[in-house]
Amino acid sequence: MQANALSTKKLNVYYGEKHAVQDVSLDFAEKQVTALIGPSGCGKSTFLRSLNRMNDLIPSCRVTGDIWMKEHNINGSETDVVALRKHIGMVFQRPNPFHKSIYENIAFGPRYHGVKKKADLDNLVEESLRKAAIWDETKDRLHKSAFALSGGQQQRLCIARSVALKPDIILMDEPTSALDPISTSRVEDLISELKQDYSIVIVTHNMHQAARISDKTAFFLSGHVVEYDETDKLFMDPSQKQTSDYISGRFG
């Protein structure tokens, strides 16, 4: 059996009175892409944001249950969330580069976490940009504003930015929903390459995308996981009626 990068046990998320995620227990395999699909408001993004404790930022939000990363339960109050987020990177729905140069966008995180030497930073920036397949487009303008890049390039820059911290896991929250089809396919190719080194959990609205790039898929519906299986199996031969209704487009 393959090792798990992350697993949740009976995870529940509440926004005030609203019970947004209910008793979700999922295992995310190492160096695989796991897709979370489901209609809007089904709790998949909320679930994803609990995994690196981003929901801590929302005052009315409460998360109960366990999230195991190796032998640590990272949902405990004793977890250092700032240190945790170094190990679990995140890419957002809209590209959100910092108002800084391309170089600084990448170097900002590592420098804060202790990479001080300029030569090391230079190498890290190049390595990260290469990994995110954007080095060729940016190498001549590393010190120009990141806002000069197109939306798709900005999103790959954001991926490079998380990669630069050498995380174990990268969470992606609908990373291509704001991009055009060509940029989307480049980001998808990138995700398939990145899984050689990283475990990836991706929320997507686009079922074709889930089918193309993921190894396993979880189908969320109103806060529950209806079905969790190998992607091929889930799309070709779902065991639940709700799943087959959703993927054949009967609702959602």
């Binding site: 690196n52 981003m54 930022l57 005052p59 700032v82 240190a83 945790l84 987020r85 170094k86 190990h87 990177g89 995140m90 957002f92 809209r94 959100n96 580069p97 910092f98 108002h99 800084k100 900002f108 995180g109 804060y112 976490h113 120009k144 504003s145 806002f147 000069a148 954001c158 930015r161 998380s162 911290l165």
Partner: protein, 295 residues
Amino acid sequence: MSAKTVDKIATGVIMCVAGFIIAVLLGLLGYILIRGVGHISWDFLTSAPESIRAGGGIGPQLFNSLFLLVLTLIITVPLGIGAGIYMSEYAKPSKLTSFIRLVVEVLSSFPSIIVGLFGLLVLVNKFGFGFSLFSGALALTIFNLPLMVRITEQGLRGVPPQQKEASFALGISKWKTIRSVLLPIATPVILSGTILAAGRIFGEAAALLFTAGMSSPRLDFTDWNPLDDRSPLNPFRPAETLAVHIWKINSEGLAPDAPQIAAGASAVLIIMVLVFNLGARALGRYMTNKFTAAK
């Protein structure tokens, strides 16, 4: 009346109102400038005032205004930015924070003559700072501080929340996020707000009458030791500012050319305030472009 006629009338009325406001503004500016600009010369800007003879200048007053401005900013900027950061990033919405906000609002709309009297009773007499630049700076702080707090808070709230998320997702601490991600983006807003506030400080008279005083000792512009009584840099000396000087010369000036001096000083004051305002806009635009530039 048809809808079209009503529309035309409404447009006409609004244009008239706008034109009226512009006319008032231009008339006011033009009157002050035309009356005063002729009197401005290098000699007028640098020489000391004369009490009885003609030919006095506004040198010390101009210097006092600028120095008081710097002193006030030294006190208000760190306090205001600190409190603004607290209000925007740390304070949880509660009765206490809405109370703080109310206090800040009330403070900023305090009549300045009241602040001046408060300064006289508390700063000048009770604390024994005397009529001094320092008392004046503290009095100006009282209504400048709320403005700084609000400017900083608005500047930080204007930063897209995605920027904060991006930084937190990289495992960056809250303080580092504020310092390195949020503040640089908010800087154009904070900076141009600060300059606008500075324009207000520059033109303030009522609060200074009883705090910074209505006289200036003979200043020795070759002595830059801040501890000497005659040094211009001594913050504990009385200092009549330009705005106060205009008021004084208009009400009790004895020099034969007092009206011309008042007109010239008013023109200088207006020009300085205009420079602050236009400078704030230009700087804000320049920095916004620089931070979000496409190239």
